[in-house]
């Protein structure tokens, strides 16, 4: 299919966040559950570890809740 409008989105949603997910790299097993359950496509598994894109993460915390080994913690944004 040909797309006639070039997709473009400059809207960074990271500023919406009140809590931020912090990944404990030692505990992370790289299963990708966080990547799959992020509505903002802001988590990615890179080299077997979860990496959060803070430019787009809205801080919903689904990744932290779904993580099977609980290696993601939600921390207040201001800290």
């Amino acid at each position: 299919m040909q797309n006639y409008v070039k997709p473009k989105c400059t809207n960074k949603t990271g500023s919406w966040r009140s809590q931020k997910p912090v990944v404990n790299k030692e505990k992370c097993i790289g299963c990708g559950t966080c990547e799959r359950s992020c509505p903002d496509m802001a988590v990615k598994v890179v080299d077997g570890k979860a990496v959060v894109d803070y430019d787009y993460c809205k801080g919903c915390g689904i990744c932290a809740n779904e993580c099977p080994v609980k290696c993601i913690q939600m921390k207040p944004e201001k800290e």
Binding site: N3, Y4, C9, N11, R17, K58, C60
Partner: protein
């Protein structure tokens, strides 16, 4: 994947519908034309002059989505081009306002893959009651002071099956492999295909965004949303009907906070009565396409 739906959309944090949308594009790939009904998924993704869509995209009204998709699908056929026409519509557009056009497209068996994301209210316009709102749920038009909605939710998947469409399935964002398998199966088929996806709305259901996927999972585990498919008229459960107590599911959501113990009991009884019926239906090997 990121080229098909870009980051930076304006959905609320923890939106279940956008999660469903993500999976839809992931499972179907880039050879699709998206026809999107007015609703949350439209306003969050197409703010002029930008667009989050990496695939061809048409936005249309609530009431004529299925008709626009019909036109697109027939034009493709006329031009002898390959591609899947995918409709993305909310429960307001699919269950209620656009239902006439949807029913017409089902009856004509148009070559469309219809994905309904069911967040159980008119979330975009301020949470009014819809045909998909469950019993007891508080919305702005069925406030908690009145005890919430007094009627049961209608079952769009069975309504589609009654039109003898080739494929109709109910899925949930909390069961990803099942949802993807259903989308892929639907893509292989010709004719009208419906995939009805249960998607939590953090604002409408008054839940903590953290728990969004967990709530969707609980809905299936307690038997209030069941995963099944009706493939060429044959009914099949995708997983055993859940038997967990509904109270746990209801307690997680602010929209059910006002419920009296009697109302909770009514919902519990209802959920328990669904299981034997669906099991009977599966066992009986009924052919839905013979009802016409």
């Amino acid at each position: 994947m990121t080229e098909l739906f870009l980051k930076g959309h304006r959905a609320c944090a923890g939106c279940g519908s956008v999660l469903a949308l993500r999976y839809v594009l992931e499972a179907l790939g880039k050879d699709v034309i998206v026809v999107n009904a007015t609703g949350c998924m439209e306003i969050i993704s197409s703010q002029y002059p930008e667009s989050n869509w990496g695939v061809p995209y048409v936005h249309c009204l609530f009431e004529n989505t299925a008709s626009v998709a019909t036109g697109v699908s027939r034009a493709l056929k006329h031009l002898d081009k390959e591609g899947t026409v995918v409709v993305i519509g909310g429960d307001g557009a699919s269950y209620d306002i656009g239902f006439g056009a949807v029913s017409g497209a089902m009856e004509r068996n148009e070559d469309i893959l219809y994905v309904c994301y069911d967040n159980e209210a008119y979330a975009n316009t301020g949470l009014q009651r819809s045909g998909a709102t469950p019993f007891g749920s508080a919305t702005t038009t069925t406030p908690s002071e009145m005890g919430g909605k007094g009627e049961w939710k209608k079952n769009l998947t069975f309504i589609a099956a009654a039109h003898a469409v080739p494929y109709a399935a109910a899925a949930s964002v909390a069961f990803l492999p099942d949802l993807q398998a259903k989308l892929k199966k639907a893509k292989q088929k010709k004719g009208f295909r419906l995939v009805n996806v249960h998607a939590p709305c953090t604002v409408g259901w008054k839940i903590n965004p953290v728990k969004a996927v967990e709530v969707a999972r609980k809905a299936v585990e307690c038997g209030l949303w069941n995963l099944f498919e009706i493939d060429d008229g044959k009914f099949k459960l995708s997983r055993p009907v859940g038997e967990a107590p509904v109270a746990e599911y209801l307690k997680m959501q602010g929209r059910f906070k006002h419920l009296t113990p009697k109302q909770v009991e009514t919902i519990e009884e209802h959920a328990r009565s669904v299981k034997p019926e669906l099991e009977k239906l599966e066992k009986a090997n009924v052919n839905f396409q013979r009802f016409l």
